[in-house]
C-alpha cells in the first residue's frame, strides 16, 4: 500500500531566487512568504484577543453587582466600543487571515499566493491600522466610545468632539484597505493557483469557505469605506453628510455600515464552518457527508448575506415593505445553515469517533453555534425583533455565534493545524483543560444573558439598580468570564511551551485527507518538493488507502522560482500611514496636510520602485 513515506524520496527541487531571504528581524520585515505572513497575522490576532478579552473582563467586573463604580460613563462606553472593534477587526479577522495565509496555498498545492508582495502590503497596512486604532489611549487618554458600529450622527463632532473618534476612522480606513486588497489577492490565488487536477469541486471545504469570505471582503468593505470617508470628511473638513440640521439622514450611515456589517458576520463564521468541515471527517475516519452541499450552502450564505443587512434596522422605521423583504431573506439564510448542520451530524452518525482537543472543539461548535443560530432566526421576525432590539438577548445571540461558533472553530483549527506550523504537537491534557474551562465559562457567561434580555436589561448600560431583578444572572455571567480567562491562559501557555518543545508531529500526525499534510512540518520555503497532482476530493487519504488514486511521484527534480524578499510593501504601507497622520492632525497643527502630500508622493515613488524591482 502507498504511504506518506513515498514523498520522502522525491529529488530536491532546483531553486531560483533573485535575492536570498534576509535573517532575523529584517527577515520578518521583508518577508513575502505566505507562511511567515500567516504567522504574523496569527500572532497579532492572538495578542489582540487577549487585549479584547481583558476589556471584556473589566466590563464584567463593573457589571458583577448593581450600583458599582469601577468603570462608569464614557470609560465603560470606551470598553464596550474597543472590546467589539478589537475582537471583530483585530482578533478574529487576523486569526482568519493567518489561517488563510498559511493554509490556502498549501491546501491547493501552490508555492505562494498570487501576489506575494501585495500580501505583505496587506499585512503591514493591517498592522499599522491596528496601532492607529489603539493609539487613542496613548495620545488622548481615552478610547473611542460610540459603539463598534459607530452610528453617525452620534460619531460626528457635534456629539463626540473628542479626538478618540478620529483614531477610530483612521484605523478602520487602513484595515479596510488591507482587507480589500487581501480579498482580491486570495480570490485570484484560489481560482488561479491550484495545482494540476484540483478542480473546483476538489478544493477543500476550508479553502472554499476562504474563497467565499475573500469575495465578501472585497465586495463588502467598499460601502463602509465610503461611510467612513464621509465621517472623516464631516469631522475634519466640515462637510454635512451626517449633519441632521442640514437635512442629513441618520439612516445613511446605518445602511452603509450594515451593508458591510452583515456580510462581515459571515466573514467571521464561514472559516470556522470550514475548519469544522475539515476536522470532523478526519476524526470520524470517513468523507464529509454531502461535501458538495456543504460547499454550495456556504456559497449561498455568502451570496444572500448581501441582502439581509436591513434586519439590523427594523426599529428605524424603514417601512413594512423593506421590513418584510429583509425578514424573508434573513429567514432564508437558515436553510443553507441547516444544511450544513445536518451534514456535520451525518458525518458523525454511527462513525467511530476519536476525541483529541481539536475534535472536542469542532463537535461542541455544532450545538453552541446552533443555539446562536436559532436565537438569530428569532430576530428575523420584525415584531419579535422590536422587543429584543438593544437588549441583552441580542448580546447573548451574537456571542453564541461568535464565541461558541467562530472562536471555538478557530480553537479547533489551532489544535488541528498548529502542528503543521510548528512541527510540534500541542499538549492534549492542557488542551482538554482549556476546552472544558472555556465551554463551561462561555455558557455561564452568555446563557444567563438570554434571561437578562427577556427581563428587559438593555445592552451597553454601565450599571443597574439592585431591585431590577438582574443581580443573579449578572453575577453568574461575571463568574463565567473567569473560567474563560483561565482557559485562554492555559491555551496561551500550551502554545508558548510547545512551540519549540512539544512532541514532534511528523508530516501527517492526524492521518488526514488534504495536501497540506503531504509536506514536512513546518513546510520548506517552497512548500512542496514537487507539484502534487490532485486526483480526488481527499487526495492524501486516497493516496494512502485507495489503490489507483495514488498521487504521482516524479523522479526528476523540479525547477522552482521563488519570490524574493522586499522592503517595498512596508514602504507603501508607511506612506499610507503618513497620509492618515496628516489628516488626523489637519485641525491641530498648521500645514499638517503637507504630511499627506509627502505620503502621496511617497506612494508614487515606492510603487515605481516596486514594479521595477525584480521579483
Amino acid at each position: 500500500m502507498a504511504s506518506i513515506a513515498d514523498f520522502a524520496g522525491v529529488p530536491k527541487p532546483v531553486y531560483h531566487q533573485d535575492r536570498p531571504s534576509l535573517y532575523g528581524v529584517k527577515d520578518w520585515l521583508t518577508t513575502v512568504d505566505h507562511k511567515k505572513i500567516g504567522i504574523l497575522y496569527g500572532a497579532a490576532g492572538l495578542f489582540y484577543m487577549l487585549v479584547g478579552g481583558l476589556e471584556a473582563l473589566l466590563m464584567r467586573l463593573q457589571l458583577a453587582k448593581p450600583d458599582q463604580h469601577l468603570f462608569v460613563g464614557d470609560t465603560f462606553n470606551g470598553l464596550v466600543t474597543m472590546h467589539a472593534t478589537t475582537m471583530v477587526f483585530l482578533a478574529v479577522m487576523p486569526m482568519i487571515a493567518g489561517f488563510s495565509n498559511y493554509f490556502v496555498p498549501l491546501m491547493i498545492g501552490a508555492r505562494d499566493v498570487a501576489f506575494p508582495r501585495l500580501n505583505a502590503f496587506s499585512w503591514w497596512t493591517f498592522f499599522f491600522g491596528s496601532l492607529v486604532l489603539n493609539s487613542s489611549l496613548l495620545f488622548v487618554q481615552e478610547f473611542p466610545s460610540a459603539g463598534w458600529f459607530a452610528y453617525a450622527p452620534l460619531t460626528t463632532k457635534d456629539f463626540h468632539p473628542d479626538m478618540a473618534m478620529d483614531f477610530w476612522w483612521a484605523g478602520l480606513t487602513m484595515l479596510a484597505i488591507s482587507s480589500m486588497v487581501a480579498g482580491v489577492n486570495f480570490v485570484v490565488t484560489i481560482l488561479n493557483m491550484r495545482a494540476p487536477g484540483m478542480t473546483l469541486m476538489r478544493v477543500p471545504v476550508l479553502t472554499w469557505m476562504m474563497l467565499v469570505i475573500q469575495v465578501l471582503l472585497a465586495f463588502s468593505f467598499p460601502p463602509i469605506t465610503v461611510g467612513i470617508i464621509f465621517l472623516a470628511l464631516d469631522r475634519t473638513f466640515g462637510t454635512v453628510f451626517y449633519k441632521t440640521a442640514m437635512g442629513g439622514d441618520p439612516q445613511l450611515w446605518q445602511h452603509l455600515f450594515w451593508l458591510f456589517g452583515h456580510p462581515e458576520v459571515y466573514v467571521l463564521i464561514l472559516p470556522s464552518m470550514g475548519m469544522v468541515s475539515e476536522i470532523l471527517p478526519v476524526f470520524a475516519r470517513r468523507p464529509l457527508f454531502g461535501q458538495h452541499a456543504v460547499i454550495f450552502s456556504g456559497v449561498f450564505i455568502g451570496f444572500v448575506g448581501f441582502g439581509v443587512w436591513g434586519h439590523h434596522m427594523f426599529t428605524t422605521g424603514m417601512g413594512p415593505i423593506a421590513d418584510a423583504a429583509f425578514a424573508s431573506t434573513t429567514a432564508l439564510i437558515a436553510i443553507p445553515t441547516g444544511v450544513k448542520i445536518f451534514n456535520w451530524l451525518g458525518t458523525l452518525w454511527n462513525a467511530k469517533l476519536t476525541f483529541p482537543t481539536a475534535m472536542l472543539f469542532a463537535v461542541s461548535f455544532i450545538p453552541m453555534f446552533t443555539i446562536g443560530g436559532l436565537s438569530g432566526l428569532m430576530h428575523a421576525s420584525p415584531p419579535l425583533d422590536l422587543q429584543q432590539h438593544n437588549s441583552y438577548f441580542v448580546v447573548a445571540h451574537f456571542h453564541y455565534v461568535l464565541v461558541g461558533g467562530a472562536l471555538q472553530g478557530l480553537f479547533a483549527g489551532f489544535y488541528f493545524y498548529l502542528p503543521k506550523i510548528t512541527g510540534r504537537m500541542l499538549d492534549e491534557t492542557l488542551g482538554k483543560i482549556h476546552f472544558w474551562l472555556f465551554l463551561i465559562g462561555f455558557n455561564l457567561t452568555f446563557f444567563p444573558m438570554h434571561m437578562l434580555g427577556n427581563n428587559g436589561m438593555p445592552r451597553r448600560i454601565y450599571t443597574y439598580p439592585a431591585d431590577a431583578g438582574w443581580n443573579t444572572e449578572n453575577l453568574i455571567a461575571t463568574i463565567g468570564v473567569f473560567f474563560m480567562t483561565a482557559g485562554t491562559l492555559v491555551f496561551a501557555y500550551n502554545v508558548i511551551v510547545n512551540w519549540r518543545k512539544g512532541k514532534l508531529a511528523g508530516n501527517d500526525p492526524w492521518d488526514a485527507n488534504t495536501l497540506e499534510w503531504l509536506t514536512t512540518s513546518p513546510p520548506p520555503l517552497h512548500n512542496f518538493d514537487f507539484t502534487p497532482t490532485t486526483l480526488s476530493e481527499r487526495p492524501l487519504w486516497d493516496h494512502k488507502y485507495t489503490p489507483g488514486l495514488e498521487i504521482p511521484v516524479p523522479t526528476t527534480a523540479e525547477e522552482i522560482h521563488m519570490p524574493s524578499p522586499s522592503w517595498k510593501p512596508m514602504w507603501v504601507s508607511s506612506f499610507i500611514l503618513l497620509i492618515i497622520i496628516g489628516l488626523l492632525l489637519y485641525n491641530l497643527v498648521p500645514f499638517a496636510w503637507t504630511l499627506s502630500v509627502v505620503g502621496a508622493l511617497g506612494i508614487i515613488g515606492s510603487v515605481y520602485a516596486w514594479v521595477t524591482e525584480p521579483v
Binding site: M193, R194, P196, A218, F241, G247, D249, L256, L549, Y608
Partner: protein, 213 residues
C-alpha cells in the same frame, strides 16, 4: 500513470513540470483576474458614492441646486475628451498586442493627455462652483455628495494618468517583464475603461437627468 488517473486529470490544463508562482489554472493571467476582482470591488465603492448622492437628492435645505450650477456645455466637452481617451487606450492595447511599442507609447501618452485635460476641466468646474456659484462641500447635502462623488472619480482619473505615464516610461526604458508587456497595458486599459464607464453613469444620471423636465 494508470488509465483512471489520466482520465481524472483531463479537467486540468497541462502545466508541464516547470511550475512557479506564476501558475495559472484558469488560463488567465493573475493580474487580469485581479483587476476584474478589484473592479468588482470598485463597483461597490462608486455604487455607494452614487447611491448616497441619490439618497440625498432633493434633500438639501437650501441652494444652490444642481440646475443652478451645472453647465452642460463645459461638462459635455470634458465628457467627450474622456470618452475619446478610451479609444486611444484601446488603440494602445491593440498596438501592444502586435508588439508595436513606439505607437503604443504615443497612444498611451495621448490617453494620459486627454485624462489630464478632463481633470483640468474638473478643477475649473469645481473652482467655478466654489468661487462664483457659492457651492462648497460644506454648503449643503448636494454640495457634500456632489463634490465627494465627482472628486473621487477625478482622483481615480488622476491615478490612471499617473499609471499611464509610469507605463509609458517603463515601456520606453524596457523595464517590463519581457512577454508580459501587452498584458500589463491591457490590465491598465481595463481600469481606464472602468473609470470611463463610471463617468458615463455620473454624466447621465447626475447631470443630464436634471435637465429632462
Amino acid at each position: 500513470m494508470s488509465a483512471p488517473t489520466a482520465e481524472l486529470l483531463e479537467a486540468a490544463p497541462d502545466h508541464g513540470h516547470h511550475q512557479t508562482v506564476e501558475n495559472n489554472f484558469l488560463g488567465l493571467p493573475n493580474i487580469k483576474l485581479a483587476m476584474w476582482a478589484f473592479l468588482g470591488s470598485e463597483c461597490m465603492f462608486f455604487g455607494s458614492l452614487i447611491g448616497t448622492y441619490f439618497f440625498y437628492h432633493d434633500h438639501s435645505l437650501g441652494g444652490p441646486l444642481p440646475q443652478d450650477v451645472f453647465s452642460l456645455n463645459i461638462t459635455s466637452i470634458s465628457t467627450f475628451l474622456l470618452l475619446t481617451s478610451s479609444l486611444t487606450m484601446a488603440l494602445a492595447v491593440d498596438s501592444m498586442k502586435q508588439n508595436r511599442f513606439p505607437p503604443a507609447v504615443k497612444y498611451i501618452l495621448t490617453t494620459a493627455a486627454l485624462g489630464a485635460a478632463f481633470v483640468g476641466f474638473q478643477i475649473y468646474e469645481f473652482s467655478e462652483f466654489v468661487l462664483e456659484k457659492h457651492l462648497t462641500p460644506q454648503t449643503s447635502l448636494f454640495g457634500s455628495t456632489f463634490f465627494i462623488m465627482t472628486g473621487f472619480h477625478g482622483a481615480h482619473v488622476t491615478v490612471g494618468v499617473i499609471w499611464l505615464l509610469m507605463m509609458a516610461a517603463l515601456i520606453s526604458k524596457k523595464k517590463l517583464v519581457p512577454g508580459r508587456e501587452a498584458t500589463n497595458v491591457e490590465v491598465m486599459g481595463l481600469y481606464w475603461h472602468f473609470v470611463d464607464i463610471v463617468w458615463i453613469v455620473i454624466f447621465t444620471f447626475v447631470y443630464l437627468l436634471e435637465f429632462i423636465k
